[in-house]
């Protein structure tokens, strides 16, 4: 009896293992999302939960218009920091001119008859405020949204990590790194035409003003709505932010554990220690994702260029300390676009690889044999349509 029980148990265990391993190998796509979330949760969770209330407010616009009107008034402070980073990309030039372009928005009430009605002045304000609702297009578009920095913080010359570029400039780098915040980033390009997406609702906003003046009058001194509004979005965002990372670490752990277990099993069974390079077990998913995330943070894509139609594959040799042998970086192939676009795409990829390595990529030294040679494919397809 027991024998058959053992056999049955063993067979079931085999079946379960088979299913698990099968899934593990197929489930490579989800990796992408996992690491992204883990990155957010570590450093930017706090910033996200405090500042992303703005986008939330938008979506709520249609429903509770009145309270939000007051909320906006109470919040003009947060939107203000935005103008700071905005002029940055154009440098300290007199470029801010492009920003004033938005003034035509107030003109938007091309439905003048409505304003003429009793609420003449409020409607003029209404478009202004709806415009503020809409998250202003940050100059930087990145996979992970970064809220605008607080007024006090200085935004780094470039993304935070670049603060420690080379050992030589450690003095400068340290100063910058301590005092800077990540540059504001959005996940999508928002054109001027998309900004007033809520514009059609402008007429409905113009109705609001009737109640607004009263609320403004009462709200300004009390400033109650502000606290109300903030808590609301905060939990919403913190919740998903918390829940999101949770499931992923789990899956990460499980998959990593399986991969590690297998790797260890093999190592125990005797690998191929013939070479002097430590071959080690294959890189875990987490380790590979760490490398991928590190590079993609420095990969600048010009979405409007012909190079954005090109997928390039770049090969490189690595030193044991995680640095790239820069002379070994080569284009192995490209797809889409002409030769000039491919060359530009390759240059952008090479810059990303070299710029983000800092003191060397964080790769396990005991598995050097596994990553001594790396081939990276840079595929901008998903970026192109943003």
């Amino acid at each position: 009896m027991r024998k058959s029980l053992y056999i049955s148990g063993g067979a079931h265990a085999l079946l379960i293992l088979w299913v698990m391993l099968g899934n593990v190998f197929r489930a490579s796509p989800p990796e992408v999302q996992m690491t992204e979330v883990s990155v957010i949760s570590e450093e930017e969770f706090a910033a996200l939960s405090s500042t992303e209330s703005a986008p939330e407010a938008e979506t709520e616009d249609p429903a509770p218009p009145a309270p939000e009107a007051t909320q906006e008034v109470a919040e003009p402070a947060p939107p203000e920091p935005e103008p700071d980073p905005a002029p940055e990309p154009p440098a300290p030039e007199p470029e801010p001119a492009p920003e004033p372009v938005s003034p035509p928005d107030p003109v938007e009430p091309e439905a003048p008859p409505v304003p003429e009605s009793p609420t003449d002045t409020p409607p003029v304000n209404a478009p202004d405020e709806t415009a503020r609702h809409v998250p202003r297009p940050a100059p930087r578009v990145a996979p992970e949204p970064v809220a605008p920095p607080e007024p006090d913080t200085t935004v780094a010359e470039e993304t935070q990590q670049a603060a420690t570029p080379e050992a030589e400039s450690s003095d400068v780098a340290e100063e910058e790194q301590e005092a800077t915040a990540p540059e504001e980033a959005a996940t999508e390009i928002v054109t001027e035409a998309e900004e007033p997406a809520s514009a059609p609702s402008a007429p409905s906003a113009s109705v609001r003003p009737r109640t607004r003046p009263q609320q403004l009058a009462s709200a300004e001194p009390e400033a109650e709505p502000a606290p109300e509004a903030e808590p609301a979005p905060a939990p919403e965002q913190s919740a998903p932010a918390e829940t999101a990372p949770q499931p992923e670490p789990q899956s990460d752990e499980s998959s990593d554990a399986v991969a590690d277990a297998i790797a260890e099993a093999l190592a125990g069974g005797g690998g191929s220690p013939d070479r002097d390079v430590p071959e080690g077990p294959p890189l875990t998913r987490g380790e590979r994702d760490g490398l991928r995330v590190a590079v993609q943070r420095c990969w600048v894509v010009d979405v409007g260029s012909q190079a954005a139609n090109v997928t390039v594959t770049v090969g490189m040799n690595m030193e044991a300390d995680g640095t790239v042998v820069s002379s070994s970086i080569e284009m192995l192939g490209s797809e889409g676009g002409n030769a000039s676009a491919a060359e530009t795409a390759f240059q952008a990829a090479r810059r990303a690889i070299l710029r983000c390595q800092e003191g060397g990529y964080d790769l396990p030294a005991d598995k050097y044999g596994q990553w001594q040679r790396i081939e990276m494919t840079f595929n901008p397809e998903e970026m192109r349509l943003r």
Binding site: P92, E93, E108, A193, V295, A352, I374
Partner: protein
């Protein structure tokens, strides 16, 4: 006992299965796919160009500054302020200390030198990929008379832009437009031409008659425009160099307007109104022979050639509402390409050939947008009380258009926007401005 058996079974299984897994990962180099990047201006540094001689000092300053402004103005690049520079470039030939530029995160570096011999200014430059530690392309030099220093700077900026993006630039180009002054009900209009950035403005006509819709020839030497000199709209051709114009005899006793050159400059397509019907015609410039391309009882106007000259996009209200259509350049059956809500007009084919820019009016607002040539992937780039008349930069990357503000005091001015919808900014003009037409690279 049971546990041991199970453990050994599991161990055997994992070892037995490993070769499959290992083969999947162990085969060849480590492969990583990157699908997410960032969209942000690329940081570059332009230290002041080295002045070779005291007389060249002023030009060195001006040229290097304008190169930086050109690049920054695209929205694709961000200049690292000179105060942050660690290295000084004191000689055009001296080696570049890449570490110093890496430290301030300059990804591209432009170095140059300027000399002046009393009659000519010579500018030479080099562009560097800082992180790769290599030169981008080869050094080049340009020379011009002293009053042409802006063009020298634009030329350098075009070269740098080209090396960094892989596409041609648009800085050394001009724009012809209608300059407007006076109140809305008594507006004076005259043709004007300027550099792409608003510098070197010149007027081509006086304000004695109303002028509309100037269009550059592919070579940039002629301009077509519509004038009310005779009381009714007629197409004129103006020689930019000689500043002389003549009437183009488009048809007897009719109104002709909305002209545009073919890509080879040999033909002109335009609209002709006879009675209450407007159709599109083509005229051979050399022979003066005309041919009717559309024959519909509706209004067909605003024709624009594809860059290869094989097709024409135009607007028509044949469906009951103003929409965009494409037909063969020789005429024939037209295919509607715009199907969104609202009215579409003033289509212009991109020099790259991949997009068509248009003006869209919907829900009381005007937009400048782009769509694929089959009408797909429509994207609206701007929104305002009145945006109209897009024109493409010579490299098909930027659109310029006219924006008018509301009210009796409303004025029209020129704006430009990147085709990604970013970097919307006003173009500097002394007075009001409308109807821009961007010329070719000089």
């Amino acid at each position: 006992m049971t546990r041991r058996i199970l453990a050994s079974l599991l161990a055997a299984l994992s070892i037995a299965m490993f070769p499959v897994a290992a083969a999947a990962q162990d085969d060849g180099p480590l492969r990583i796919e990157i699908t997410e990047g960032v969209v942000e201006p690329l940081p570059f540094a332009v230290p002041e160009f080295v002045a070779e001689g005291a007389e060249a000092q002023q030009y060195a300053q001006q040229v290097s500054r304008l190169v930086a402004e050109d690049l920054t103005g695209t929205g694709l690049f961000r200049e690292i302020p000179r105060e942050a520079h660690i290295s000084n470039i004191t000689s055009f030939q001296s080696p570049v200390q890449f570490a110093d530029w890496k430290a301030i995160n300059a990804q591209a570096l432009i170095t140059g030198a300027v000399s002046y011999d009393g009659s000519r200014v010579v500018v030479k430059f080099r562009a560097w990929d800082v992180f790769a530690g290599t030169e981008l392309g080869q050094g080049m030099q340009f020379a011009a008379a002293p009053d042409g220093w802006r063009r020298l700077a634009h030329k350098v900026a075009d070269q740098v832009y080209s090396r960094l993006t892989g596409e041609s630039g648009y800085f050394d180009s001009r724009v012809v437009f209608v300059s407007e002054s006076g109140p809305k009900d008594e507006r004076r209009k005259r043709l004007a031409i300027m550099d792409y950035d608003g510098a070197n403005l010149q007027y081509l006509t006086d304000s004695s008659s109303i002028v509309l819709a100037p269009r550059f020839s592919p070579g940039g030497d002629r301009v077509l425009y519509t004038s009310y000199e005779t009381g009714r709209p007629q197409i004129h051709v103006l020689d930019v160099g000689a500043v002389q114009s003549r009437v183009m005899q488009a048809g007897q006793g009719s109104m002709s307007f909305s002209p545009r050159f073919s890509p080879d400059g040999s033909k002109v397509v335009y609209s002709l109104t006879q009675g209450s019907n407007t159709d599109i015609y083509e005229m051979d410039i050399a022979s003066g022979a005309t041919r009717q391309l559309t024959m519909a009882p509706s209004i067909e106007t605003a024709p624009s050639f594809s860059p290869d000259g094989s097709q024409i996009v135009f607007e028509s209200d044949r469906s009951g509402q103003q929409q965009l259509y494409i037909m063969p350049a020789s005429g024939g059956e037209a295919t509607r390409i715009s199907f969104g809500q609202g009215r579409y007009g003033t289509p212009v084919w991109s020099p790259r050939g991949d997009l068509i820019a248009f003006t869209k009016q919907n829900a009381g607002r005007f937009h400048i947008g782009v769509m694929r040539t089959d009408g797909s992937e429509e994207r609206l780039l701007t929104a305002s009380f009145l945006d109209e008349g897009p024109t493409w930069a010579p490299n098909g990357r930027v659109l310029m258009f006219a924006r008018e503000t509301q009210g009796a005091q409303g004025a029209s001015s020129l704006y430009s926007v990147d085709i990604s919808g970013r970097n919307l900014k006003r173009v500097r003009t002394p007075d009001g401005a409308s109807d821009p037409s961007w010329g070719p690279l000089q």
